[in-house]
């Protein structure tokens, strides 16, 4: 375990992280892993985070070494989409028993890897360590090494026992596994001056496909997306990209920064959410590629695409303006950057009356302040009870949040829209923002609200005559 704690410590010392750099030396050593309050905690564990980050690699087998609780309930639940192989949706686990805990689970794990390779012939096997085998001292790194040699397949250890920390830490540990065992292990057949990596994008609901057509049109090739709709070999060859975009900044900053250190791939932090952000992302990708030697005419072509797409998006959002003008929104986002969505919502006429800043950096908070001026409250942590009260008293017209708070809104009989990772709609790029505005409109204009808010017949203080009249 000493290697794991060293790894975790080194992740806390991430120089690429602005929050981390803003801290005094002493605090930085303590790391960014918030201590969880027993009995008042919410959210997944490190293993959960690692699985989210790597499972989108579609042609690999993802094998969970642990008892049934780790994999038995969570498989086939994540919304990452594939354009080809579907192996990533098959669940593999050793489901260890008391026997393994007494005698050790290493042989069991080896035999399981062998079965997976023989039956499913995956491009690679990712092996996830969980709490119980970590406690009994199963050395998954040694087992993976032996299995890789004997079976002639990449077998990658992902050392992420849940008790190591949060989901966010798990994302980063997954990134470390890629850096240590995958990235740079193979060479691409050919490279172009237009090769990029997209890091921290998981293709949830197919969002990558809302962006990719524009890159295709510009002749920009995604050498590897880490890890949405990825193939194992693409990730292994990703070190030959010319530039990189880091999408979900807190999740995989270590991957982007270390790839810059090791392979000289410059990166920028961007977002596909929001019209302005999408345009910035395209601009910065092109600029980085031109800086690395791509022909400068790329910049002009990019601006032309941006101008065309922006005009088209605004034109499609315009019809909603009248319907949505003045509607009040409570916005509680996790991974999706609040400020980038705020701009698009405002453009559609919506008023943001409150937003969460729990996962935002100080820089993000400043940008939100600029955008919403004084109309909005920023909440670091709003308890469900208070959220319910706000909605019940109709201080907002709709809440946009993750599944965790879904029923707070619905039980208050208020419209709600899912904008977290389990969502079923894709909201990336220009297409995505139009879709988001259209979904908000659908939620707000549903005919159910008027009906379900009516008092029940026994709550009426009606005179009998009127009631009978209705029945007649």
């Amino acid at each position: 375990m000493s290697t794991l704690s060293a790894k975790v410590q080194s992740l806390f010392d991430e120089p690429g992280c602005a929050t981390n750099q803003a801290k005094p030396d002493k605090d930085r050593k303590k790391g960014c892993n918030k201590l969880l309050a027993p009995g008042a905690a919410a959210g997944g564990c490190a293993f959960d985070g690692a699985k989210i980050a790597l499972q989108p690699i579609t042609d690999a087998a993802h094998l969970v070494h642990g008892p049934i609780n780790c994999e038995g309930h969570s498989w086939d639940g994540r919304g990452s989409k594939s354009s080809g192989p579907l192996l990533y949706r098959t669940s593999f686990t050793t489901a260890i028993t008391e026997q393994d805990i007494i005698f050790g689970g290493e042989k069991h794990l080896y035999k399981a890897i062998k079965e997976v390779v023989e039956k499913y012939n995956p491009a690679a096997v990712f092996v996830y360590q969980t709490c119980v085998p970590a406690m009994i001292g199963d050395d998954i790194e040694a087992v993976c090494k032996a299995a890789a040699m004997k079976l002639g397949k990449p077998v990658i250890p992902v050392n992420v026992p849940g008790f190591a920390g949060s989901k966010n830490l798990g994302n980063k540990l997954a990134g470390e596994a890629l850096l240590d065992h995958v990235i740079g292990t193979e060479e691409p057949a050919e490279t172009t001056p237009y090769d990029i990596n997209i890091i921290g994008e998981y293709n949830l609901s197919g969002e990558l496909w809302q962006v990719k057509p524009l890159l295709d049109e510009l002749g920009i090739r995604i050498l590897a997306c880490i890890s949405g709709d990825a193939r194992y070999h693409e990730v292994a060859r990703s070190h030959r990209a010319r530039a990189a975009m880091m999408v979900c900044s807190k999740a995989m900053i270590n991957v982007a920064r270390k790839m810059e250190d090791r392979y000289g791939i410059p990166f920028f932090e961007g977002s596909f959410y929001g019209i302005g952000d999408m345009s910035d992302a395209l601009r910065k990708i092109s600029q980085l590629l031109v800086d690395r030697g791509a022909p400068a005419e790329l910049l002009g072509r990019t601006e032309a695409v941006i101008a065309r797409e922006e005009a088209r998006a605004w034109q499609r959002i315009a019809p909603f303006k009248e319907r949505l003008a003045g509607k009040r929104v409570l916005l509680f986002t996790g991974g999706v950057k609040s400020w980038s969505v705020v701009a698009a919502l405002q453009e559609a006429g919506l008023v943001i009356i409150g937003t969460s800043t729990k996962k935002s950096t100080p820089d993000d908070k400043e940008r939100i302040k600029e955008l919403v001026k004084d109309d909005a409250h920023m909440f670091d942590d709003l308890k469900p009870r208070e959220m319910y009260k706000m909605l019940k008293e109709a201080r907002a017209d709709i809440m946009l949040s993750g599944g965790r708070t879904q029923f707070v809104a619905l039980k208050a009989k208020m419209p709600w829209l899912d904008i977290n990772q389990e969502r079923h709609h894709a909201y990336a790029g220009y297409e995505g923002m139009v879709a988001l505005v259209s979904e908000i409109d659908k939620a707000l204009s549903s005919p159910i609200w008027e009906q379900i808010r009516r008092p029940a017949p026994w709550e009426f203080a009606v005179d009998r005559g009127e009631l009978q009249l209705h029945i007649a």
């Binding site: 375990m1 704690s5 969880l36 309050a37 027993p38 009995g39 008042a40 905690a41 959210g43 997944g44 564990c45 490190a46 293993f47 959960d48 642990g66 008892p67 049934i68 609780n69 780790c70 038995g72 309930h73 969570s74 498989w75 086939d76 639940g77 949706r89 098959t90 669940s91 593999f92 686990t93 050793t94 489901a95 260890i96 008391e98 393994d100 805990i101 035999k111 399981a112 062998k114 079965e115 997976v116 709490c131 119980v132 406690m135 009994i136 026992p161 849940g162 008790f163 920390g165 949060s166 469900p384 009870r385 319910y388 599944g403 879904q406 029923f407 707070v408 039980k411 208050a412 009989k413």
Partner: protein, 456 residues
């Protein structure tokens, strides 16, 4: 009848099984004002929580002791104590049900001892019931955790009766985890029609039936109250549904002297005849007209439906008690159980109307369902059903890709009647229309003679 065999695979592929701790947690959710708490790392809780949210489409109260690596090595007393204190102050529960996990069991935390110390340290928590249950996820499965949690609640809460209970109209009902909130509502109507006053433990129909509460509640929204559980000793009878509840029923009988009757299933005509006969005899009330009529409707549905069920081959994968209920009912309708897969050992498995029952996973189901007319299992069977091109009827937990999972009713005459309609309709929707090739003998196709018979 059936031979029970165990899979010898080293790698479980597409798990059918779910864990003991979340089975126990769900049992606690059938008690009003409860916060279930898993003693493990926070992932243990969040995976179960997401699963129940997807199945019931409700807010799910479920907390964690959030064990870190260091806490796990040093022992979890502080975390358990902090968790209980935090939950007590934030959510004001009547009961905290604390379930162990693989993490705390491997470490060997003495949870029962912890609770005694916490009681001594915190007299201000005296009004909250604290119940621990041992549910390692490296053995047993969901229904075992459920059954054990109910047994523990009986051991900790039920008081010895003060009065002779012989004249009481009160009846205890111990439903297995395969009994949905909708089933409990149906059963409550049935018991009340015999002038009986049922207490269900657990009662998910009060908490996870999908109703709109007046106020925001961070604990369970309803269910049996702790006070009602204490008074279960004054009932005249206990009815247990599913073999998994036998242990709890025996424990209750030992503590209170209340005799029990176990029904291993309440799906099907004969099973419900037995229930009606039993209720009539203990209550002295003749079977009400409503149920005589429903029985007649069920008989008619069996007559109308048997054309579509006869000879159909069905592959079923479920926890033992649900597997028993579904396979017996399908067999009673004329189906052939082509394969039966389950999660854990149980005495009911030998009675399953199939050649063998395999303790396995959904990969085993996929292999053994080839050529079947229907797959019956929870939503995780959807990939297998899609690959095989076989219709899939969803039962059990989780059902996350259909609405109304909590309201699926499979008990009683009416529940069985509607089940015949639902499954029969699936068979009818997947009937193959005949073509000129349908009756060409197999050997002709194999010898490529088909071309000669079909005009060009």
């Amino acid at each position: 009848m059936a031979r029970v065999i165990v899979s010898h695979k080293q790698c479980v592929v597409n798990p059918l099984k779910m864990s003991q701790p979340i089975g126990a947690a769900l049992a606690f959710m059938g008690v009003e004002g409860t916060m279930p708490l898993l003693h493990g790392s926070q992932g243990c809780t969040s995976f179960g929580l997401v699963l129940f949210v997807r199945h019931f489409r409700e807010a799910i109260p479920l907390q964690t002791t959030a064990m870190s690596e260091v806490a796990t090595v040093l022992g979890g007393f502080d975390n358990v104590e902090q968790a209980i204190v935090n939950i007590a102050s934030r959510t004001k529960p009547a009961l905290i049900g604390i379930c162990t996990t693989g993490v705390s069991e491997t470490k060997g935390d003495d949870l029962n001892g912890f609770l005694k110390l916490i009681r001594a340290n915190h007299p201000e928590l005296g009004h909250i019931a604290l119940i621990d249950v041992s549910t390692p996820d490296f053995e047993g499965s969901f229904q075992d955790g459920w059954g054990t949690a109910v047994t523990r609640m009986i051991e900790e809460l039920v008081e010895a009766p003060l009065l002779d209970s012989g004249l009481s109209r009160r009846i205890n009902v111990l439903p297995g985890c395969h009994i949905s909130p909708g089933d409990i509502d149906e059963l409550r109507d049935i018991f009340e029609a015999f002038s009986l006053d049922p207490f269900f433990l657990p009662d998910l129909s009060g908490s996870l039936d999908g109703h709109i509460p007046e106020e925001f509640t961070p604990t369970t929204l309803g269910g049996i109250s702790v006070d009602q559980i204490r008074r279960m000793g004054s009932a005249c009878w206990t009815v247990a549904i599913g073999e998994q509840m036998r242990g709890a029923a025996i424990t209750l009988e030992h503590r209170t002297g209340v005799p029990y009757q176990l029904f291993d299933r309440l799906t099907g005509l004969v099973a419900n005849d037995e229930l009606m006969g039993f209720l009539s005899s203990i209550s002295g009330v003749p079977v009400p007209r409503k149920y005589r009529r429903q029985r007649s409707q069920l008989v008619d549905a069996m007559l109308d439906g048997h054309f579509h069920f006869g000879g159909k081959k069905v592959a079923v994968a479920a926890e033992p008690d649900l597997l028993a209920a579904m396979t017996h009912w399908l067999h009673d309708m004329g189906c052939e159980i082509q394969s039966a897969i389950t999660t854990t050992e149980s005495p009911v498995l030998e009675s399953i109307p199939a050649k063998e029952v395999l303790l396995g996973d959904l990969e085993d189901l996929e292999i053994r369902a080839a050529g079947a007319d229907l797959i019956v299992t929870h939503s995780h069977g959807r990939q297998a059903a899609e690959r095989l091109g076989i219709p899939h009827f969803r039962v059990g937990i989780p059902v996350f890709d259909r609405l109304g999972a909590g309201q699926q009713v499979t008990v009683g005459y009416r529940g069985t009647r509607d089940l015949i309609f639902d499954v029969g309709n699936l068979f009818m929707a997947n009937m193959h229309e005949p073509t000129p090739q349908t009756w060409i003998p197999q050997h002709c196709i194999e010898h490529d003679l088909v071309a000669l018979r079909v005009p060009q």
